[in-house]
Amino acid sequence: MNKITIILIVLCMSLSPLNGYAEQSVEDVLGRLEEKMSNIKTLQTGFVQEKNLAIFDKKITLKGKIFLKKPRLFAWHTEEPTRYSMVIRDDVILQWDEDIDQVQKVSMKDNPAFQTVVGQMRKWLSGMYMSLLGEYNITLLKQNPVSLKFMPRENTMAYNIISYVRIVFREDERYICEIYIKDKTGDSTLLRFTDTLLNTPIDDAAWKVKPRG
């Protein structure tokens, strides 16, 4: 056996545990994050979202607040550029926007479009990504703070739509601080969370779809 062969064998042997470690570490990280996030009972956070969609003639920057109370309540309120509210209680959606000024009630069961929209929101905002392993190839981009990249696997619904999703967690890993979604069409969404509060009481007004005054 010549020297080169020995070096190759040693190199291969030394690389294979590294591959195994990398594979294992993603699941370990996901498990660790899930454990931390499973303690979240309530969430209230501000957000700034930048949408670069071809359907719009300019980049849309959205500012608002998200409220979550497990297991039944979710609210999405935007303040800029227009005021809009969506409150989800179980599978019923109430929505209101200032232009129309009407409260609309929609059952998710009867509205597949809303189901998709809400499903995507819940998926990425939940922070519970272990169950996505079958749907996405997940890679760990950075350990501190944790940054993950999700690439849809073939034969999934996301495969033809999403190019990748990048998620950055807070330093304390208790919630997400940034979500970036790149679509296959070139459209993109960047969502940043600000002033996030975990497990603090949420004002009942958060669940009112139409703001007072």
Binding site: D99, V117, S131, I181, D183
Partner: protein, 654 residues
């Protein structure tokens, strides 16, 4: 000479018994429930519908994660491995879910057909949307949906349908997909339960439910393949074939049990009363007669029902009387075979009376009764012949001890007073029975003919707890010589049902009709012409203008909705149904059955009396339609059974 005759009879009897015993292994047995039901066209049509449709012959595998530490991902991996191991010839296709990869593209492609499906009322609604307020509301809704994360999934739908005209059809697809009442979610293209702990595989098999041998092979094959599942996954098989096997096993076990109990009772009775080992022959004669009759009946009828064979013990019980009479005659006649001559006439008359009753069953419309009649009559004749012409020679020449006291003529118990008491008691019992018979209620639930083992039923209950679907819907079947004819009739009935009952009134699951998804060629041609005319009368330009004007408020680009206008006018109308859309093909398979003589279009609705009556009234106006209701079925068969009962009550000796 007598010994030679005796040996000849012995030899002949032994030969027949051996042939009969061997022959029984080659007989085809049948557990088709139809044999046991009156030949009512409605009942038979319903049963045949289930048998001939692809509804009841499918096999479902329900797989469950046993370990809490394992995830849905692990379950899906196990399912995929199992799926690959299921092959021909017993499994022709495995459906593990719906591939979502192309689902959005497929839905998008299907929605291009929607203008062909919209009627005049739909166009009126669109007309109301082409206003400043209407367009503004639509744009606002689109804008807000597009600003949520993951808007890429709905982008193509919004661009090609800014007014949301077609969104109702997405709901219809969803509604039709859940028309059988199962609660399923799709994960990575697989059927997964709501809690993520179970997966479902639907298997297509060429093995028919009534094929006992094939069912056994199929289930054995599945059990073998399931052995390869990892230890953290368990599997349940849900299939009509399990009922077939279980019923066969139960009937066979019952026949064996009945024979053992009857044999023991007869033997003990004969040996205790007659105190003679030859009394065993009395018991053997009906048993052998039944065995030979099964073979003869099978030669005449081809197949024999297990239900009928189960009656063998009853027939043997009736026919054993002839042997008893002959035995007593020979024994009281000092062991001479000639002693039988005294009783030949009354015994033959008794047998003919019994044969007459069974012969009456030939007039029944229940095919199973014909089998019962033939089998019973053959058994009785054979038993009679053996008892009168064989048994005396087997009993002859023996010096019998005295008969026990209670069997002797003129015993002290047999007084005139005792006779009168017996007759009086009998009279009272008969009168009481006649009175009580008026209040008699018959349990006509045909599911009671299903003798499947409790574990089969428990498995099915467990399956329904996870997946739902316990309440089976009723089915409206519309037939046609071709698909176009069936679809046209289906549309007419659907429209009438919606107008007369109200679509939303079919609680809880609603009326699921293929007419909500696809229409006949004739209707689509008319709709298309109307659609094209609608937009060509200035509405296209008006909508463009309104979208342009209000789109600016929401920063929509100028060509944001160009996909809608690009395909606005219908240029080509497909003749039959869309092709290459997997979700559509799967729905079509559920709602449309191709038959040898045409097509059947099915609609599903809650199996409740009021809906069955309402749709029954509508469908009765159309000759090629019928309803299949599991709940209404017993009522239908009850009437038939009562009619038959009246007929038999009027027969002498019944």
């Amino acid at each position: 000479m007598a010994d030679k005759r005796k040996r000849l009879i012995f030899g002949l009897a032994a030969g027949i018994i051996i042939f009969a015993a061997i022959g029984i292994r080659f007989i085809s047995f049948d557990n088709d429930i139809e044999l046991m039901l009156p030949a009512n066209p409605e009942i038979l049509r319903s049963l045949r519908f289930f048998r001939e449709s692809n509804i009841s012959d499918k096999v479902i595998l329900s797989l469950k994660l046993k370990s809490q530490e394992r995830t849905t991902h692990d379950l899906i991996q196990a399912v995929e491995k199992l799926e690959k191991s299921l092959n021909l010839p017993l499994i022709t296709e495995v459906i593990s879910g719906i591939s979502k990869a192309d689902l959005i593209q497929e839905m998008h492609s299907f929605l291009e057909y929607v203008p062909q499906l919209l009627n005049e009322q739909d166009l009126s609604k669109i007309e109301k949307q082409i206003t400043h307020a209407g367009v503004k509301a639509s744009l606002s809704r689109n804008y807000q949906q597009l600003l949520t994360p993951g808007s890429g999934f709905i982008m193509p739908f919004i661009q090609s349908d800014p007014l949301g005209i077609k969104s109702g059809f997405l709901s219809n697809i969803q509604k039709l997909s859940s028309s059988l009442g199962y609660s399923v979610k799709i994960k990575n293209g697989h059927f997964i339960s709501q809690n993520g702990r179970n997966a479902m595989l639907i298997l297509k098999t060429p093995v028919r439910l009534t094929d006992g041998f094939g069912s056994r092979n199929l289930i054995a094959y599945l059990h073998k393949q399931l052995e390869s599942l990892p230890e953290f996954v368990s599997a349940d098989i849900i299939a009509g074939h399990i009922h077939t096997i279980s019923n066969e096993d139960v009937i066979k076990r019952d026949i064996r049990l009945t024979l053992i109990i009857a044999s023991a009772a007869f033997l003990l009775l004969f040996l205790f009363i007659f105190r003679d080992i030859r009394a065993v022959l009395i018991f053997l004669i009906p048993l052998i007669s039944v065995l030979v009759s099964i073979n003869l009946s099978a030669i005449v009828l081809g197949k024999l029902s297990y239900f009928i064979i189960g009656m063998g013990a009853v027939v043997a019980g009736i026919a054993v009387d002839y042997g008893i009479h002959v035995y007593l005659a020979v024994r009281t006649g000092a062991g001479k075979p000639d002693a039988v001559k005294k009783i030949i006439r009354p015994v033959i008359i008794a047998a003919l009376t019994t044969i007459g009753v069974f012969a009456a069953f030939f007039f029944s419309s229940v095919k199973g009764y014909h089998q019962l009649a033939l089998f019973s009559i053959l058994s009785i004749i054979l038993c009679l012949v053996c008892a009168l012409f064989v048994l005396p020679y087997l009993l002859a020449g023996k010096h019998y001890r005295n008969l026990p006291v209670m069997l002797k003529q003129g015993s002290s118990m047999h007084s005139q007073v005792f006779d009168r008491i017996c007759i009086a008691c009998w009279g009272v019992i008969i009168i009481a029975a006649i009175v009580l018979s008026w209040q008699l209620e018959f349990n006509n639930d045909i599911s009671q003919l299903d003798g499947s083992k409790p574990e089969v039923i428990q498995t099915e209950q467990g399956f329904h707890n996870v997946w739902g679907g316990a309440d089976k819907p009723a089915i409206l079947v519309v037939s046609g010589e071709n698909l176009e004819e069936a679809l046209q009739c289906n549309e007419r009935i659907y429209t009438k049902a919606v107008n007369e009952v109200g679509e939303d009134n079919f609680a809880p699951m609603g009326l699921s009709s293929f007419a909500e998804l696809w229409l006949s060629n004739q209707t689509r041609i008319a709709n298309s012409a109307r659609w094209n005319k609608f937009w060509s009368e200035g509405r296209e330009a008006k909508l463009k203008e309104l979208l342009q004007e209000h789109g600016q408020t929401y920063h929509f680009s100028d060509d944001a909705f160009s996909p809608f206008f690009k395909h606005l006018y219908i240029e080509k109308i497909i003749e039959n149904t869309p092709e290459g859309l997997t979700f559509f093909d799967q729905l079509k398979e559920r709602f449309i059955l191709k038959k040898a003589d045409g097509y059947q279009v099915l609609s599903f609705f809650p199996d409740k009396d009021k809906y069955v009556k309402a749709l029954g009234a509508i469908s009765s106006r159309y000759s090629k339609t019928f309803l299949v209701s599991r709940n209404a079925f017993p009522a239908c068969s009850q009437t038939q059974f009562h009619q038959k009962l009246s007929f038999y009550q009027e027969l002498p000796g019944c």
